[in-house]
């Protein structure tokens, strides 16, 4: 909403208030002022100049010498460089002594040998705009010597305010003036238009039928005769333009002027163009069309409220008039509509047609049903003054069920409780009265008010408390000392557990990333084209790149690694925690929370093999088990990470290099090395290992309390064993055999070497070396005891795995 302060001053005295002060008070009472703009001529002493003659400058090609009639007796000589200077042009003239917008005072000067007695101005020099393309061109009827202010208006300030949807009453200057009146304790001045009416009665010339009371609770129509369509007076045009409305002609301008003044949209029909001299407020019928004032022919559907004449729709009720019934340059009899339409209906129609206007904007938020008559009278009076219109003594006012004013009361104690402070009852009553509320009753407990018809937002006690708060000033509400308040029984451990998982992943050395919840079919197809049917596609996506809710965190994890690689990032260890989405078998939508881990190795030919890359990922998972307090697997005296991997075949993983992951004894997710065909998309030539885990599988043990077990005071003994076995023998086979043979004194098994390339080892076999740690709780083990235990294990390896022990 644009608010020209000069115009606003009609309704409330603004003298002595700076525009900053006004803007600030409005902002802090709920009408946020977003801009303060200065408009109009900022220069002083500028008059209209008429160029009589243009001569070349004797010494400068780009300058010319103009002889200008500045309204004084003798024409002035003015040196000018603008290209549009020509005889007959009327342009702003700054004579000697005038002051430009930038503060420069004009003096007589000699320019390249020619005496110049003033300056012809462009708009920027006057502060009217930033235009400097040429001299400002004034209308032909401007009189030489006339002060420029009379034509472009004197300097003014225009505020632009954001009006929240609950305050349609402030979509008007009177509404804003009312607010300022309360804030600055100044009276509101509302004009009281008086009509001098003559001529025949409206009912004899015009028939109005209100068929839809619901859609249009009140409809008024006034007949104005003797209208002469012409431009509006300059001051009115200027005010409209400063408020952001284009001036058209006096009839249209007056309807807009009154709408901006009081918030009531008006519409003018040419009586001559209404078939049957008749207006009907009804719903549109199937197949009807209407060409609206914007030139578009619109197909109407039943349900749309229209104003029709005897034959066809002539206006979209509350939204826009029709091309074929509006005011023309020779219109003599005007039907002035002022009505109240149902907000929801206007909103629905405006949305359905994709058409909104200053009028629909106000109606859909809620106009003032009681202000309808005043607006009509005000417009008629202005048309009488500026268009020669004569009003009929009567007018149509169809208002079958007048709205009754709400009564709302407020308890003082409740206001104090909610605000945490007490503005004082007298003060609050003053605010209410200033806003137009009628005080019906007041005692020590409460105040009962009647809400004016323009305040659609005031319905309940809380609304009145808000009025008191915003006018009193929220800055006067004290900040209470914060205190801790513990609410018993609120268990947030499930949420905390999920946050804790993130902390521990970071503690393991992984960096957190965050991707959009949206992704594309293209990326998903690259990973796994087989799950297309189960994807959670958005019915109204923003773009193809953001068309699907992610079914997995892995595609974007791999994409993120790839994007970093393409930016020359060498290695990365990332994790992301987020929700994934999928369609259920019965067509429903579901979500769950997951964790993704991605490792990208440093590039370089053969610098890291696939096995090491995968083992690094496995190391993260093993440490994660411990970090999440999952109980270790206890085999005799040996504790192993509760991590079990089983071969799997994920579509995105390299064949034979993908596993499903069990953690803490339950299925947690999947892991593997990304297929090279996928990596190639981002030119990653080295292995990339990723895992995706269900959040719920990670949290069950997080709050397990570790119970202390005494640490043996007796020293441990290490024994190594190295042996050659077939390639088919896995580390887990070795562990299994060792544990089968192990005494309870075996504490730890560490693989420290795998070796293949040697003349001593046949193809298809490998050498493995382990260090085993023995320790007793009860005594210090002797060498002999350790050797005996170790001997059992060696024997077992030989017997079960056909291992060749290397001594």
């Amino acid at each position: 909403m644009k608010i020209p302060l000069e115009w606003l001053g009609e309704y409330v005295d603004l003298s002595g208030l700076s525009s900053q002060e006004i803007a600030e008070r409005l902002t802090f009472s709920g009408l946020e002022v977003e801009g303060i703009e200065t408009v109009g001529c900022q220069a002083e002493g500028i008059v209209v100049g008429e160029v009589l003659e243009v001569r070349p400058h004797p010494a400068a090609d780009r300058l010319r010498v103009a002889i200008v009639n500045g309204g004084g007796g003798t024409p002035l000589t003015v040196v000018c460089g603008a290209s549009n200077v020509r005889p007959g042009l009327k342009a702003p003239l700054a004579p000697v002594g005038a002051r430009l917008a930038n503060g420069v005072r004009i003096q007589a000067a000699t320019l390249r040998g020619v005496r110049s007695e003033g300056m012809l101005c462009a708009e920027d020099e006057l502060g009217i705009s930033s235009d400097h393309t040429g001299l400002m061109e004034l209308p032909a009827e401007a009189r030489p010597g006339e002060p420029l202010d009379r034509i472009v208006g004197s300097a003014d300030t225009v505020l632009s305010a954001e009006i929240t949807p609950n305050r349609p009453d402030c979509l008007s200057l009177i509404g804003i003036a009312r607010e300022l009146g309360v804030l600055f304790e100044r009276p509101l001045r509302v004009p009281d238009p008086v009509l001098i009416s003559r001529g025949e009665r409206a009912v004899e010339r015009l028939k109005v039928v209100l068929e839809d009371w619901n859609g249009c609770p009140r409809y008024t129509a006034r007949l104005l005769a003797g209208v002469r369509v012409a431009p509006s007076p300059a001051w009115m045009r200027r005010r409209l333009e400063r408020a952001g409305v284009r001036a058209i002609c006096n009839v249209v301008d007056v309807t807009n002027y009154v709408m901006l003044e009081c918030g009531q949209p008006l519409h003018a029909f040419d009586l001559r163009r209404l078939k049957g001299g008749c207006l009907r407020v009804r719903r549109a019928q199937e197949g009807e069309t209407l060409q609206t004032l914007d030139g578009v022919i619109r197909r109407l559907t039943p349900g749309i409220l229209v104003i029709a004449d005897a034959e066809r729709p002539v206006a979209l009720a509350g939204i826009m008039g029709g091309e074929e019934s509006g005011v023309l340059s020779d219109t003599a009899e005007v039907v002035l509509e002022s009505a109240y339409f149902q907000p929801a209906l206007i909103r629905k129609t405006s949305k359905a047609l994709g058409l909104s206007s200053e009028s629909s904007y106000r109606f859909e938020r809620g106009a003032d049903p009681e202000g309808v008559e005043w607006a009509s009278r005000r417009a008629a009076a202005l048309l009488g003054e500026f268009a020669g219109a004569e009003a009929t003594p009567d007018f149509w006012d169809l208002y079958p069920a007048p709205v009754s004013r709400r009564r709302v009361s407020m308890r003082w104690e409740r206001a104090r409780t909610l605000l945490g402070t007490d503005p004082g009852a007298d003060r609050i009553v003053r605010y209410f009265e200033g806003l137009g509320l009628r005080i019906l009753a007041r005692d020590a407990q409460r105040v009962e008010t009647e809400i004016p018809s323009w305040r659609v937002d005031l319905e309940r006690e809380a609304d009145l408390i808000e009025e008191a708060a915003r006018l009193y000033g929220l800055d006067k509400i004290p900040a209470a000392e914060p205190f801790a308040r513990l609410v018993p029984g609120a268990d947030d451990r499930p949420v905390r557990a999920r946050l804790e998982v993130n902390r521990r992943l970071a503690a393991l050395g992984l960096t957190e990333i965050m991707n959009y919840s949206f992704t594309s079919d293209r990326l998903l197809d690259l990973m796994d084209p087989t799950d297309r049917d189960r994807r959670a596609r958005l019915p109204n996506p923003l773009s193809a790149e953001h068309a699907v809710l992610r079914p997995s965190l892995l595609p974007q994890m791999i994409e993120t690694l790839g994007r970093n690689r393409s930016r020359q990032c060498e290695e990365a260890a990332f994790f992301e925690t987020g929700r994934v989405f999928y369609r259920t078998a019965d067509g429903g939508w579901a979500e769950s929370e997951r964790v993704a881990i991605g490792l990208m190795e440093r590039p370089g030919l053969g610098s890291i093999d696939e096995e090491s890359c995968f083992r690094r990922l496995k190391g993260v998972l093993e440490r994660l088990c411990a970090a999440l307090r999952m109980p270790p697997l206890e085999k005799g005296g040996v504790r192993l990470p509760p991590l079990e991997l089983e071969m799997a075949d994920w579509p995105w993983a390299e064949a034979g290099l993908s596993v499903s992951v069990r953690m803490g004894g339950r299925l947690a997710g999947r892991a593997g090395l990304v297929r090279s065909a996928i990596r190639r998309e981002w030119r990653i030539t080295d292995p990339v290992a990723v895992a995706e885990l269900e959040m719920d599988a990670l949290t069950p043990h997080l709050f397990r309390v570790p119970v202390y077990r005494p640490v043996s005071v007796h020293p441990s003994v290490d024994r190594d064993v190295a042996f050659i076995v077939d390639e088919s023998v896995c580390h887990s086979d070795v562990i299994r055999v060792m544990l089968e043979q192990a005494p309870s004194e075996l504490r730890r098994i560490r693989l420290f070497d795998i070796y293949r390339d040697s003349a001593l080892i046949r193809a298809g076999r490998k050498s493995m070396a382990y260090r085993l740690t023995y320790q007793s709780e009860k005594k210090t083990l002797t060498d002999e005891e350790a050797n005996t235990y170790h001997g059992y294990i060696k024997a077992g390896l030989t017997r079960v795995l056909r291992a060749e022990i290397r001594e």
Binding site: L419, E466, A480, R485, S517, E591
Partner: protein, 340 residues
């Protein structure tokens, strides 16, 4: 013997000390220069042969020699003794080589703001609550007193999945879920991801994060809201930060306010971060609307409460000086590592 000769001799002696690779070699150097039959005692002996005028000069030089030598000898001995058992390493130890420990996980800046916010409200006794991203129309709009034809429900703004299911547009539905599930008092903070059909640009993102706060009890007031938000602002942004309220309009609070923090960069004097206003707009808040209480079965006569929301991306951008929201979802390692 000239003093100049003496200084050349000192230089030679110190160099030999440095070159010694074992304690034994070091001892040999010591004996060579300071031993009973060493070079320095020999010079001292001949002091008497000099003209009386030169004697004190050479004497002083000889004493300086002795002192410097002893000092360097100590340094070299210590160094050699530090090497295990006096064994000389093949290469000299270079402590300036880069470290080998690599693991350093960094939390995402959005997560950092969330964690910090949770911790601050934790101190005030707020517990954490949570809700789904796939939310019902009831929880996201109806129960929050948003009228059926409110623009925010528009398909232009909201990702609707079915007629009644949507991607939540705010974390406020968590308020409803919590109040539906337990009786007052309630004191919760709810971080989460939200969705709006905004085309992505420097300040908009179609998914973003919010933190919702809700406090319901007997006699909760706007003054409490102001106090708690001020406490939060200071804990997050700095101890001088002030909080300012401007009246606003939200369907689920009455009175509704927008709140600003005074600029933590310039202290309110005006700078680039606050666009010279001295204030930074944060988000909306207010007193829970009686209709919302009614919708969850709380008695608005008995209970009052405040609610606030805040945009996590916005807080992160303000706090860390990030000027483009897209950087937060780009996951460039060089960006992320700055928040270690």
């Amino acid at each position: 013997m000239e003093p100049a000769d003496l200084s050349a001799l000192q230089e030679q002696a110190l160099e030999e000390l440095d070159r010694a690779r074992t304690l034994a070699e070091l001892e040999a150097v010591r004996v060579k220069y300071l031993g009973r039959k060493g070079l320095l005692p020999a010079i001292m002996e001949k002091l008497g042969d000099l003209p009386p005028a030169e004697r004190p000069i050479v004497g002083r030089s000889a004493n300086a020699f002795k002192e410097n030598f002893a000092q360097r000898l100590n340094v070299c001995r210590e160094q050699l003794e530090r090497n295990r058992g006096g064994v000389v390493p093949k290469r000299a130890w270079d402590p300036t080589l880069p470290g080998l420990w690599r693991g350093m996980g960094v939390r995402h800046p959005i997560a950092q703001i969330m964690e910090e916010t949770i911790q601050i409200f934790d101190r005030l006794g707020f517990t954490i609550a949570d809700g789904p991203d796939l939310e019902t129309e009831w929880h996201n709009f109806d129960a929050l007193n948003t009228p059926a034809d409110h623009p925010s429900r528009d398909t232009q703004d909201t990702f609707w999945l079915t007629d009644t299911l949507l991607l939540r547009t705010q974390t406020s539905p968590v308020q409803i879920r919590v109040m539906e599930s337990r009786p007052p008092p309630v004191r919760i903070i709810a971080p989460g991801r939200c969705y709006r059909r905004d085309t992505t640009d420097a300040t908009h993102s179609a998914n973003f994060h919010q933190i919702e706060g809700l406090y319901v009890d007997r006699n909760v007031s706007l003054a409490d809201l102001k106090g708690d938000l001020t406490y939060f602002a200071r804990a997050l942004m700095g101890s001088e930060v002030k909080v300012r309220f401007r009246p606003h309009f939200f369907p689920f609070t009455e009175p509704s306010v927008e709140y600003d923090f005074s600029c933590h960069v310039c202290g309110g004097k005006g700078c680039r971060v606050c666009k010279n206003s001295g204030w930074i707009e944060i988000s909306g808040a207010g007193m829970v609307d009686p209709k919302v209480f009614h919708n969850v079965g709380y008695d608005p006569e008995q209970w009052t409460g405040y609610a606030f929301g805040m945009g996590v991306e916005r807080l992160a951008m303000i706090k860390f000086g990030i000027d483009d929201i897209r950087l937060l979802y780009d996951n460039d390692a060089r960006f992320l590592e700055q928040f270690a």
